[in-house]
Symmetry: C2
Subunit: 154 residues, 2 copies
């Protein structure tokens, strides 16, 4: 990255890429998230998980999404923050105990707003990979980005 920080709409280019730090996923984290938000045996009970569809304890897909967001917040310096409007999300394989996750993100589209000149929508391809470079989540997200001329205090 040689671009200025923070990044405004006019600083962004299609093809800009960001790579996050790694994130070590352990059993305690998987179970704690799942007990609160996705209390199913394949996320909360290592023994029951062995007999499940997944043949072992796996992270909730929403936990993977949350970890992905954490890694992005720590890495992608958009002015005004990372404000998601929505997107598509797929979990091609589960994240498991002991996995080390990291995220690679790339700006694939930039659309200045027609009605609101102070902002635009960018589309970002966000891949969450495990230690074998296998995707555990493929997210394509739309995010709101502001122009520097309307620098928001956030």
């Amino acid at each position: 990255m040689t671009a200025p920080i923070p990044l405004y709409l006019e600083d962004l280019r299609i093809g800009m890429r960001f790579a996050t730090a790694p994130y070590a996923l352990d059993q305690q984290q998987i179970v704690a998230f799942a007990r609160q938000f996705d209390p199913q045996p394949f996320h909360t009970d290592p023994d029951a998980a062995k007999a499940s569809f997944f043949q072992g304890l796996v992270a909730s897909g929403w936990h993977v999404a949350a970890v992905t967001m954490r890694l992005l917040v720590d890495t992608v310096p958009l002015a005004g923050g990372l404000i998601g409007a929505g997107g598509t999300c797929d979990w091609p394989r589960p994240a498991r105990v002991g996995d080390t996750l990291r995220v690679e993100a790339e700006i694939v589209a930039i659309h200045p707003s027609q009605s609101r000149p102070d902002r635009g929508i960018i589309t970002v391809k966000i891949d969450t990979l495990n230690q074998n470079n296998e995707a555990v989540q493929n997210l394509v997200a739309k995010m709101v980005v502001f122009r520097g001329g309307e620098r928001k205090e956030l």
Copy 2:
């Protein structure tokens, strides 16, 4: 619901609907989730949030997604559990401190697997609404569902 419980692929019909219990979202929950997974001022700092794009503290979209999952797990009795393969997700407006969320879900497509006769993929339209019946999240999810003939022990 007059269908048997748990529900296998052959029990499901397009148009089947599920409505969850309500979930009260408070500031402590919003801040706790965000500190861990989405540490941005509009999710973690009520004062800074007032001056932000959102003009007040709002829940991370991923927190809304996680709460939605919790409500679904407590309500939708799919045999083998709720196993998501992916989908599209939009956040048309933020969830705020004091909101009471609930989820309405409807099966909109059912596709038995061609290659694996023990299972199929269903598409479920999942709307997360606030106390004013405004959508805070629109999710269209694909889920794996099993036939009773291959009842999985989970």
